[in-house]
Amino acid sequence: MAKDPVCGMYVDEKTAQLKAVVRGTTYYFCSEACLKEFTAPEIEFRKLKIQFAVGLALTIPTALFTFVNILPIDVRNYVLLTLATPIQFGVGWRFYRGTYDSIRNRMANMDVLIALGTTTAWLYSMIITFFPSVFPTREAYFETGAIIITLILLGKLLEHTAKGRASEAVRKLMDLQPTMAHVIREGQEVEVPVEQVDVDEVVIIRPGERVPMDGVVIGGGSSVDESMVTGESIPVEKNPGSEVIGATINKTGMLRVRATKVGQDTILSQIVKLVEEAQIGKAPIQRLADRIASVFVPVIVAIATASALLWYFVGNIGLNFSVLAFISVVVIACPCALGIATPAALLVGTGKGAQNGVLIKSGEYLETAHRVKTIVFDKTGTLTKGQPSVTDIVALDDYTEEEVLSMAATLEKGSEHPLAEAINGAAQAKGIQAPEPKEFQAVPGKGVTAQLGKDRLFFGNRKMMADYSVDTSPLEEHLKALEEDGKTVMVLAKGSHLVGLVAVADTIKEHALDAVARLRQMGIRVVMLTGDNERTANAIGRRLGIDRVIAEVLPGQKERTIEKLQSGGEKVAMVGDGINDAPALARADVGIAIGSGTDVAKETGGIVLIKEDLRDVVTAIELSKKTVAKIRQNLFWAFIYNIGLIPIAAGALVPIFGPSVYNVLPMLAAGAMAFSSVTVVTNSLLLGRFKPSML
């Protein structure tokens, strides 16, 4: 079954009568209306092509008869008139239509300029032809309007094609969505449209099929190619408990999956929405360009009129050339390139990012990321895997290691801290059944305490021991050695007696070292933020080559820390968990949420990294720099085309080449204008060749 892309109804391909092929894909429709609506943009484009072809066919002879002296003088203008008038009012009708709409809505747009310029040329030429005594010179300029119109249409054609290529990445993302799914209902496997699958229903995915929606594996096993959504090039193993992403490709095994997110909630839908919305957030550069664009037209008409008058009354170059001066300025002045300089680069850049699992939420974050001088990494779960495990147990006096572990497990039973998980996990592994604690109390930043039988137990860092007057000197050497090794050590005390200690370590993420090195290479200062004690934190910091370690930070203090780093006026980025570190990420100039996984939309931060891979942080910064560089290149070209050439159109070359330069200037102006946006969009497409340096 195929889906009508317009109304969403399902159409049976085998019996469908109404279909159309667009850009290589066949679409099916339920009705004529839907078919017409879908193909409307294609039809528009086809009309544009036909009009250009007609224009070209008529312009060639026009140009020929103008520049080559084949025709006898008396006949010439009449022939040219016959060729040029259909171009002016047939092919060029769209500019009159646009002018009418524009004036009716109190706007002033490019159509007005083109209509003004070409009509002036045509009208002047008509007067020359039928009332030759009105003007001092005899030459008509029918070819001017014709060539201008034809060139502008050519520019539109090229621009349309280039724009299509620029938005390809986004369109490809949207096309990834599968249409059908195999659901288990009442014990039977049924094939249904993907929209009809509800959350918690079970679907079967066979080898080679696309995962229909986001879900969790409940049976079977396989590896899945997730590259099209996360950018991960190596297929990912999926077993019961693993999450799967809609639109990814199941490779060789079979999977039973329970649906968790459907429709607009799937990662794919969220990504598409995010990329689209990234196109409208306004970066400061773009606001400036838009403002220039909005005042452009009236200003240009003023400059054009002023130039023409100056040349006629002061420069004395003659009426004909003055009129051509007016036309030249009017034609060169569409701010098209200026208006598209930033959006074009932004589209290709964000599209490229999405392909790599780097989601940039708007142009302003790109710009800020490009200028970031300091990056702060949260330690646990960001630089490390967030899965600590017990590495050492030291027991004092007559206590055994199991007893120490058991007491520690009792104390950590009420805690949700990742360290607690490590300890409880270790206890379970040893088959230890730790008793329940009584009067449990957690002291943030220090440790936990509880009652076990007659004794008050304390389990935590040195600060806690100090608070409860426990002398840690018997274990100091152990403590120091373990901390120097980058481990987090917790001391266990009963009453005021030292019992032992438990050391826990978290694995540093695979690419942490390389990512930090690369960032520093890029001239960015790397800072690590952690609640760990100084010694442990510094040990890890040294191992990773971190510039500055900020340790013993309470969870509620992270935001303040970011603020302090910003007080120097520099731009600070923070990398952390998009949900747990939200306040600090929001405070940073660019918050980079790493490892978003399925909840892309909920993550705080200007940049969201889908994978847990730290190399993506480097990729995000590199991409931002490349995109901003591309925007600047585009603006450079746009300035030259749209603003730099105005003086030339207004007559800067006349002192050098004489007024006859105006015989060709209007057409050259049209050429420059027509190709200005194409240049900018094509230049932006080059950004599509970006490859992350670390992958």
Binding site: V6, C7, C34, E37, A40, P41, E44, R97, G98, Y100, D101, S102, R104, N105, R106, M107, A108, N109, M110, K156, E159, H160, K163, A166, S167, V170, E276, E277, Q279, I280, D290, A293, S294, F296, V297, C334, P335, C336, L338, G339, I340, P343, A344, L346, L347
Partner: protein, 76 residues
Amino acid sequence: MTKEVRIVITVPGLDCVTCAPGIKRALMELSGVKKVEVSIMLNKIFVDYDPEQTDTMHIARVIEKTGYKIHMSQAM
């Protein structure tokens, strides 16, 4: 708190940057429309509006009056 809905409308032929301010102004004059953003690259207009004061029909009509043909169901 007033409800706000976002609608995204595809407008083929939204070529030049000079056309955007006019459409924006026309839409903002429609009561109930809170924010309008135009993307020339995507050929899409994003309109945030209060569904109790106006609806997609009115929005579509305003856009068509500026000279662009849109088809209603192309709005997401």
